[in-house]
Symmetry: C2
Subunit: 422 residues, 2 copies
């Protein structure tokens, strides 16, 4: 099955927003065994939309188009696609009632323009939108005059807001595709995430041991990110499950504790799972990561069973008041120092009664560096039922990457230590 | 000038990573006056890369290709494009020396495979990569056999890691394009960000007043996001600057304080700027946003002049210990309540001496809701040199959207109040 994705929106071409649909829809489709072969983004002008859809209709069995179903004057997708397929639009009374209800519930006036969202091309299926006003639309293009082989294609139009698109895809598009395309071949994709080892060394370590499986059909992919490397294991056909499982076993044996998670599992999810299993609690004392550690850990459902408290202590006074760091330690060594990282971690642990406390103090930049402690210098402390550990790292990167890399290093320090705990 | 962007990477098609290059490069190009007309993502297989590049060469003056220049076996871009253009590859000694130096500096072994990054197609320009090993490549395809009109095209290949791609684009690609394409027409694009007003009402308010400018060439775009709407003002030609400036003036007059920023300016940047200008300081007391407020504010360079401290108090004990919330208040009203939000804000303000303190307590879900306080309930408190304000909101959305919307609402409460301050 050939699947293509078209994202419409001038804001995409102007780089004003991030195209999150591309990842999300590609991911969902891959998990269903259908890999999207091409994704195209174009401006939301009539000509661009029509051209992109016409080209995709010439190639693909399924085309998903996102955006341009809303009420404003730059929402053209519905009308241009009806025009391209030579279908008339009619006002659907059930959709109109849903839209009216949506505004009534919120006690907001419904402007006349909003009614265009109730227009449906003749013969199209309406995909209900409980989270917004514009419904999605699905239509089988048969006969497909754009395709040399005359095969039919499915065209699925989805609204732009992610909160509307995602449930609609799950609840309506997946059942529709499963019914239209039964008996697809087996497809297995598994991503293994590693930390603390470079991309070329990961491949070098794996290439020999995995060779027999590559000959049996395993496809390998590598993706380097700041401080970590993802390895992707893909196989198709009746043996897919077995090949990927065996590859994962070999990979884990070779890379050991460098492997921290699978799929899109982030370090924070691993930390919350690990500490929950071991019934341990955590406190955080952050300076230069500025709450990122707390934010990431609290993104994980169930974090409240693990995280007792976090302090973002930007000033010296806050470090003293909330964490009990000593004035003389600050004066003698400076806020960015090993002794301060130690006192921050120990203070957070003591004041919260947590099993572990992580501390971070450093210079995120762009200003604030010195010769002895340049921008990028960071001290990470870990207090626990052992002698407090403090490591010094150097992450000379932009402010946001600095926060991210430092948070990764802090969580990795905790993960390794927590793995040892009984 | 027709510009197209091709992002290669199976991880994109499998939805394993977000395509941040698309936004970033489109944004940079638009700011230079060159709007990307099409962006395509394909897997990093030889056939897909060749097909996408061949199609783009038939249409575009400039084609930028990202990814696939690294050392692993799925990095095929360099080789496939040389093949497509009929160019031989030679090993560039200066590039090889740079790669060797990169590994030496890090005291890491250089594996033989890494050398393929020093291969350069005959006639290509090398774009230096101070932040990694693989250089970029630029080549003028002349004559361009793929294009009906025989016009030349520029093909620019950039490495996948953002930390390498971005400086390379700025330092080498921009000067190259400016030299190759002088005298381009004026292009002005300005995004105005509004909060607390729906998309259709924004358009309804603006459509009449902006009509004369639309007739003079103004293009309008709207983009709805959780709790906010961006309005995009675009014009081309000699009058572009004036048209967009006048449109912005009208928009600001009509939408008033709903306008909080321009371009990609986030609320946190507005807060830091506003408080810096007014010489005010801030403390944070977060429960359900779990550090997101602190993280967002500390993402802004210069935040340390404004933010004194933040506490992430997930447990009742932490609310008492770090913020001085009274045990009886917690017992009588529950942690998610108006009185607790008030005591959190007042406690944070008192203990840090900040001018303002924001507090948030609520139920992010997916569990923890009750009939009286369902998942999505949140209380936001603001203490300052006035009677403490507490508002109750209801954001019945997924956990991450909940954190985001709640943070927006909290910052918007602070922004409005800080605007009033002398």
């Amino acid at each position: 099955m050939v699947v293509e994705l078209i994202n419409t929106g001038s804001e995409l071409m102007l780089g004003r927003v991030l195209n999150a649909h591309q990842q999300w829809l590609c991911r969902q489709m891959a998990d269903l065994g259908w890999v999207v072969s091409r994704q195209v983004a174009v401006a939301d002008t009539a000509r661009e939309i029509e051209q992109a859809v016409r080209e995709a209709l010439a190639r693909a069995d399924v085309i998903m188009v996102t955006g341009g179903l809303g009420p404003t004057s730059d929402d053209l997708t519905r009308e241009r696609i009806a025009n391209l397929l030579g279908k008339a639009l009619h006002e659907d009374q059930a959709v109109l009632a849903h839209i009216q209800h949506f505004f009534d519930m919120r006690k907001r006036p419904m402007l006349p323009r909003v009614r265009i969202q109730a227009l449906v091309p003749d013969g199209a299926q309406v995909l209900w939108n409980p989270n917004g006003t514009a419904p999605g639309l699905a239509m089988e293009v048969q006969p497909n005059a754009f395709r040399g082989n005359g095969k039919a294609s499915w065209l699925v139009l989805l609204p732009g807001p992610p909160r509307e698109l995602r449930p609609m895809f799950m609840d309506f598009v997946v059942p529709l595709l499963r019914k239209a395309f039964p008996n697809e071949t087996e497809f297995v994709c598994r991503t293994i995430r590693t930390i603390g080892i470079g991309e070329s060394l990961v491949e070098h370590t794996l290439i020999g041991p995995l060779q027999p499986l590559v000959e049996a059909g395993l496809e390998l992919g590598y993706c380097a990110r700041p401080g970590q490397t993802d390895v992707r294991l893909v196989a198709q056909g009746v043996d897919a499950e077995r090949i990927v499982r065996q590859a994962e076993e070999i990979l884990r044996a070779k890379l050991g504790e460098h492997v921290y998670g699978v799929e899109e599992e982030e370090l924070e999810a691993v930390i919350v799972r690990l500490l929950t299993e071991k019934r341990k609690t955590l406190a955080l004392a952050e300076s230069c990561t500025g709450g990122l550690l707390a934010h990431r850990i609290t993104n994980v459902p169930g974090a409240s069973a693990v995280l007792l408290a976090g302090c973002v202590t930007y000033t010296n006074e806050a470090k003293q008041k909330f964490l009990g760091v000593k004035a003389e330690t600050l004066e003698q060594h400076g806020a960015v120092s090993k002794p301060v990282a130690r006192e921050m971690a120990e203070g957070a642990r003591e004041r919260t009664g947590a099993d572990y406390a992580l501390s971070v103090t450093g210079i995120a930049g762009p200003t604030g560096g010195t010769e002895a402690k340049p921008v990028g210098t960071v001290f990470i402390g870990l207090a626990g039922p052992f002698r407090t550990i403090v490591v010094r790292n150097f992450n000379p990167v932009d402010r946001e990457t600095f926060k991210h890399m430092t948070a990764q290093q802090a969580m990795e320090l905790l993960r390794r230590k927590a793995l040892e705990a009984s």
